[in-house]
């Protein structure tokens, strides 16, 4: 099906690209239907595009791009109850600013996706990880 996206104009998306947020992204309660898009030139990054509002889009990143050993304790029971059984993937919310040094990633509240059931949710971890961790990593050069 054809959808209007914020950053890529009109795009053809497949059923398999769709994600339904069983629990909404905090602050965006009315938006549940999204598609996950990626761009060949930007591996590790994903665009979470709302299917209902073309202007609503989040840029997510694979944790390993930012922190190789990101392996937080997850509320597994709650996750499988909400998203269904099966392996889940974590993606992190990024706040991208014009200057690399100002761009950040949220390690505290990962987006959890179950690719098999195509359900998603955002989890706020108990561990007090930073909400605004530098995307370029600690001590990295821009």
């Amino acid at each position: 099906m054809l959808i209007e996206t914020r950053d890529f104009g009109q795009m053809e998306v497949l059923e398999a690209d769709k994600i339904y947020f069983v629990e909404p992204i905090y602050g965006f309660e009315e938006y549940r239907r999204f598609v996950l898009l990626c761009e060949n030139e930007m591996p590790g990054f994903f665009w979470l595009q709302s299917m209902d509002e073309p202007a609503l889009c989040f840029i997510l990143v694979e944790p390993q791009v930012v922190q190789e050993n990101y392996a937080p304790t997850l509320p597994v029971a709650e996750i499988s109850q909400k998203l269904g059984q099966g392996k889940t993937n974590l993606l992190l919310m990024t706040v991208i600013r014009d200057n690399v040094k100002d761009s950040t990633v949220n390690l505290r509240s990962p987006v959890v996706l179950n690719p098999k059931t195509q359900n998603g949710m955002q989890v706020i971890l108990e561990e007090s990880l930073p909400i605004r961790y530098p995307l370029a990593g600690e001590g990295a050069n821009a």
Partner: protein
Amino acid sequence: MLILSRKCNESILVGENIEIIVTEISGDKVKLGIKAPGAVTILRKELFLTIEDNRAASKAVDSSALKKMLDGLKPKA
């Protein structure tokens, strides 16, 4: 910042119409009861910060700035 010690079931009053009560102390967790008018928003801090961060995250980005930024990052395999 004002620091107060409370035992279980003791209260703190904030402003004219907010009361915070320690309802349970168990291990390293404290359970707090909050009485406030319905119009007052009460959130765990990390939830408030997550909402704020999500809102910032949803702002549109100039894709050339994004590409330039990515040139400075090395995705780990």
